[in-house]
Amino acid sequence: MKKILYSILFIVGLLVSDVASAQSRTSYFMEGSYFRTELNPALVPTRGYVAVPFLSGMGINLNSNYLSVDNLFYQRGGQIVTAFNGAVSPSEFLDRLPNRGIVHNKEDITILGGGFFHKIRETNVFWNFGVGAHFSVSNTESKDLFTALKTLGNNSYNLGDTYLGGTLYLDLYVGAAVPITDWLNVGAKAKFLIGILDLGVEFDELSANVDVSKVTGTLRGNWRANGIFTENRYIVDGKYKGEPLGLSNLGNAKSYGFAVDLGAEVRFFDDKLKASIGVTDLGFIKWAKSTHIGGKLNGDFEFEGVDVESGDFVKPVGDIDTDNIVGLKSYDGYTTMVNCALNVGVEYNILKNRISFGLLSHTQFLTKAVYSELTISANFRPLNWLSASISHTFLNHNKFGIFGAAINFHPKGLNLFIGMDFIDCNMVKYEAFSIPRYAKSMNVYFGLGFSIGKHQRLQKHYAQSESLIE
């Protein structure tokens, strides 16, 4: 039991702890942040760093394209009601929802890590390395789920586009950013991945039809689990007979993978205009056969009402295939792609790079969805040890008034980062707390590291900036 408890605590910890830099769009253009290398390996911090184990980043990160207080709660006559209250019309609620709802959480934690500049033949190469843990959970659901709840009536509802999955893996990486020319930096990072846990629940078909003659439902799905906690040899007669393994049994890891981060930055007009592109986590994990467990989730539901003759008031007619819920006829190894992200940024700086304006396109390739954001930011670098950004993320119906902000202190010896991508100016209260009203995503990043080395720049105009500071 202890193993199970520890496992759960660990997973919860990962869910609530996030490396601030992980995918903080606001930090993309913050030159002092060493976390920007997570978004684009061609981008480098101004100093080397040593990450504080497990403290290099903490935060909460929740990305969604529909979850907001404003979408779920409404004011009606001085009363706050839920979207499912009868006072809220279906159209008022449903029109705010995308056809496919996405909730995604990707957690990354740097267990050990560091980066440093090292000149090779006059080329100032930024090396970075580390060991990280990555956990991502993604969920998609059909709008029909809410349509059904809200307008339950004589209609058909297709909830088939529903997926819930999560992946936990460790990576050991080493990367480098190299200035190729005065106007071009490229970077790459190679990652060796160790699969810890892969979970997936997928519904190929999940539908309901509420007809005047009967209510029917169909479920066709499957689930899988793979990782260090499972061994399919323990499945006997549809039941898992083995003792679940705990985190301590990392030696049971049998799934491995490989991924790369690739990036480039091109600078124009004397470095005033920068364009960058970065692809992160482009890779895969091959999950082992022996640790693969899973089953099918098939069922049919039909309710034609009470059988008046028998007087059976509650018994619907249904058939759930219970034989295959746990256990498959055979198990195969399989490969999953790591949740890849594509970041494309354009930045224009003024005042000798003290202020820049950036536009970042962030696209997350999830298992069953693609999540995109477009963030504009204003980035301030008033001091060499201080940089800050404010941003606003478009798409996903984010209203104006929701902005991102981040500040990074990176004097010599210290690197402190705090930032949020979705700060909602319109807050509602819940007892003593203020809660964003319109934000569909939320995150809070906090990171603490140690800066090492001198202030370095890969860009050509670095000296100018430096002198300005001095």
């Binding site: 009601v81 009402g305 009470v306 202020i355 209260k429 819940y430």
Partner: protein, 799 residues
């Protein structure tokens, strides 16, 4: 302020502005209403269904086994059963004990004495030879002077000489044979002689011819012997006992050898056949023999002297050997009737007490009694066959006359007539019946009969038999009687007194579904049929009653059931139905009571009691054929045709109970609904319409505040139309609104039962009756129409 400171300050101001976001105080999520409305607008959900339920399905599922269909498909509830009354006391088999008895009877003396008759007579043969006359023409014989010849003559040697012959005729006339004979000898057919030495059959007769002087001249010769018998014929045997002649005139030729001195002819007369009547135990048999002989010789030549003529001597010795006689059938050889002390008894026991007077017992065909007469085994079987025994049986024994039997039966005289030969081996007589005339009353189930047969023996008419085969010395013991036998009874005749009871309750538990109905004027025509199979060849009378076990009853008096028949081999059971009905004329109704509805009035009883007494009139004599498995089978049936007319009026109240658990959970939550309408759509081809009202009741049976309400002002009533003709479906749509205070479903938690008050009405047209048929059905869909969804407070659930 340099650029850095300027930027820094700007950054600080912007940051402050951004973080000092406006908080909408009125938007306090702590006060979020928990009310959630599932559904929006009108929604119709099917909540129940009575799938098409045909009458056929219903009957099958309810396992109402008693429901049957007639040829037109009309349903009838049929309850049937049956039982058996075993007739135990009538035994089919009874035993006839052995009644053999030995009687010493006097046997007549058949010995016949006859004085032997001896014949010995000689006679010279007159040789018709005149030498001088006959031979004077002969040529001269040298040296012989024929003229000088006297009694001596000369025959030349080698000369063909005429035949010399002679003849003699003589009649033996012995005294007639006189015999004293027994009475039963009617005629003498043949008298059989014997050799006194006993070496040969027949009486020897010797013919001796002495040629004397002729012997010298016999060259060769022939003798013709003729013997006639007067008054009959005789049989002549040779010396070896072979018959050589049978007749009255024996003639034979014998060769005479050269120089023969004598010729002997020996014959044996076996018998003399001559029909002679016995008169007064005496008979005279005339005996006359005519003897004649002619001989001729061819003489040799020479000189011969014929002084001594040939002589013939006839010798005979007739000794009585036996006689073949014809016996007088009128004279009894044996005439015996035992006295009462010698009589034996035949007991018929174990007669059922119901047999009051036994007149006749008919036995199964082929039943035989073995009669036998022993003690005359010494008789030659052939002779024995000529003797006829007549056994006159007691009057109560009736035998069957059989054409090919080895006995004959005089039914008039109850007399068995058979040969002693057959009787000595035993004769199986076919016993047909025991006839006791006007009847015998058994005493303690037993009838004792006296067996005292009268036995006579006589010879058959026209039978010839040797007297010697009849001879027997002393008395004869004759054993006569019946060997022990088991007889199978076919029928008994007389007065019997049987009385049986049928007490049967016809349970109608399968009609539980109807028991609670208050039926008025249903048009039901129930019919009770009691079918009795009478195996008794006695007319039965049935009395009794049929009742519903409560207060209605119908009496049955004097219903007669014909006696079973008998076709010569089997009992033909007579089947009678007692039909209690006012319809169904196809049955043979021997009893039609008053309207059966008087029996079943208002409700279906749980049982119908049938009490019947089946009895026989003991004052009347009847013939009762008896079977191996003798039992009275009866069966009964109750038929309730399921058909309704427009007078049908069934009131039925029913509670759907145990709903506490169903709605109990609701009271914990504030669940509201808008307008809720229960919609029932019914398709009905049953010829029954239903007026129904629904009331929601608490566990004490009181109406709850939550109710259903129909269109009428009187509450939750609705009508399901029935088919008028049982074929055309009738569609009914009934809507009932659910009325609960404030639309709060929690009010339903008080509902413990749903009370249904149903009134079924026949929908048949006036004067018409519509049957329940297989294909008739009732189907219904129950839906609920929610106009505004269901509102719940999720806080209730969270708490």
């Amino acid at each position: 302020m340099n650029l850095k400171n300027c930027i820094f300050r700007c950054f600080a101001v912007v940051s402050a502005l951004l973080f000092v976001a406006c908080v909408d105080e009125s938007y306090d999520l702590a006060n979020v209403s928990g009310e959630v409305t599932i559904g929006h607008g009108e929604t119709i959900l099917k909540v129940g269904e009575l799938k098409r339920k045909s009458v056929k399905d219903l009957i099958k599922e309810k396992e109402i086994e008693g429901i049957v269909q007639d040829e037109n498909g009309n349903y009838t509830f049929s309850k049937s059963g049956g039982d058996t009354i075993i007739i135990e006391d009538i035994t089919k088999r009874f035993e006839v004990p052995e009644v053999l008895n030995t009687f010493s009877v006097e046997y007549p003396d058949f010995k016949i004495d006859m004085t032997p008759i001896v014949l010995n007579e000689s006679k010279s043969i007159d040789v018709g030879l005149d030498v001088l006359e006959d031979y004077k023409e002969l040529p001269d014989i040298p040296g012989v002077d024929v003229s000088e010849l006297g009694d001596t003559f000369y025959l030349p040697e080698g000369e063909l000489l005429p035949v010399i012959g002679g003849s003699v005729t003589h009649t033996f006339d012995p005294e007639d044979i006189e015999l004293d004979v027994p009475d039963m000898i009617k005629d003498f057919k043949k008298l059989i002689f014997r050799d006194i030495d006993g070496e040969h059959r027949g009486a020897p007769m010797l013919l001796k011819v002495q040629f004397n002087d002729f012997a010298d001249i016999i060259k060769e010769g022939e003798l013709l012997f003729n013997l006639d018998v007067t008054g009959g014929t005789f049989v002549i045997l040779d010396q070896y006992g072979n018959p050589i002649y049978e007749g009255s005139n024996y003639e034979n030729r014998y060769k005479v050898a050269e120089g023969a001195k004598e010729l002997y002819i020996t014959l044996y007369v076996e018998s003399l056949t001559s029909v002679n009547h016995v008169e007064n135990h005496h008979i005279d048999i005339p005996l006359a023999l005519d003897f004649s002989m002619d001989f001729s010789i061819t003489p040799k030549s020479g000189l011969f002297s014929l002084n001594n003529k040939p002589t013939v001597t006839l010798m005979a010795d007739f000794e009585y050997g036996d006689a073949e006689v014809e016996l007088d059938p009128e004279v009894k050889l044996v005439d015996f009737e035992p006295d009462s002390q010698q009589a034996r008894s035949i007991n018929i026991v174990d007669l059922p007490e119901q047999v009051k007077g036994l007149e006749r017992v008919d036995l199964v065909e082929g039943q035989s009694l073995r009669f036998c007469a022993k003690g005359l085994e010494w008789l030659d079987s052939k002779v024995a066959d000529y003797i006829v025994i007549e056994v006159t049986l007691p009057k109560f024994l009736d035998l069957q006359e059989l054409p090919d039997a080895d006995y004959t039966y005089d039914a008039q005289e109850h007399k068995i007539i058979a040969s002693i030969d057959a009787l000595s081996d035993g004769v199986d007589v076919v016993l047909e019946a025991l006839d006791f005339g006007d009847g015998i009353a058994p005493v303690d189930g037993e009838i004792k009969l006296e067996f005292k047969p009268h036995i006579t023996a006589r010879f058959r008419d026209g039978i010839s038999v040797a007297v010697s085969s009849l001879e027997h010395s002393g008395n004869v013991d004759i054993e006569v009687g019946i060997e022990k036998m088991n007889l199978l009874v076919l029928a008994i005749a007389g007065r019997v007194d049987y009385d049986y009871k049928i007490e049967k309750s016809i349970e109608i538990e399968k009609l539980d579904i109807l028991k609670n109905l208050e039926i008025e004027g249903t048009g039901l025509s129930p019919m009770v049929v009691i079918n009795i199979k009478n195996p008794l060849t006695l007319p039965l009378k049935v009395n009794g009653s049929i009742s519903d076990g409560v207060d209605s009853s119908l009496s049955i008096e004097g219903v007669e059931i014909d006696a079973a028949g008998y076709d010569g081999s089997d009992i033909v059971v007579v089947e009678r139905k007692i039909v209690l009905a006012d319809k169904k004329p196809s049955y043979e109704c021997i009893f039609v009571p008053l309207n059966i509805n008087e029996l079943i009035d208002g409700s279906i009883p749980s049982k119908i009691d049938v009490n019947l007494n089946i009895g026989v009139d003991s004052n009347v004599s009847n013939t009762l054929y008896i079977d191996d498995d003798f039992r009275i089978l009866y069966d009964y049936s109750l038929e309730l045709p399921v058909a309704f007319n427009n007078e049908l009026n069934i009131n039925y109240q029913y509670d759907i109970e145990n709903l506490d658990d169903l709605f109990d959970d609701l009271k914990e939550y504030d669940i509201k609904v808008g307008d809720v309408t229960i919609i029932a759509e019914v398709m009905n081809t049953l010829p029954i319409g239903i007026n129904a009202s629904v009331e929601l009741r608490d566990k004490d049976g009181n109406a709850t505040s939550a109710q259903l309400e129909g269109e009428s002002a009187s509450g939750a009533e609705f009508v399901i139309a029935g088919s008028v003709d049982g074929v055309t479906p009738e569609y009914t749509k009934a809507e009932l609104d659910l009325i609960v205070d404030g639309g709060r479903i929690a009010e339903l938690a008080k509902v413990s039962k749903i009370h249904l008050d149903l009134q079924a009405m026949g929908e048949a047209a006036e004067g018409k009756e519509v049957s329940i048929l297989d294909e008739q059905y009732l189907e219904a869909v129950i839906s609920v129409r929610l106009s505004e969804g269901i509102t719940v407070d999720v806080k209730d659930f969270l708490e």
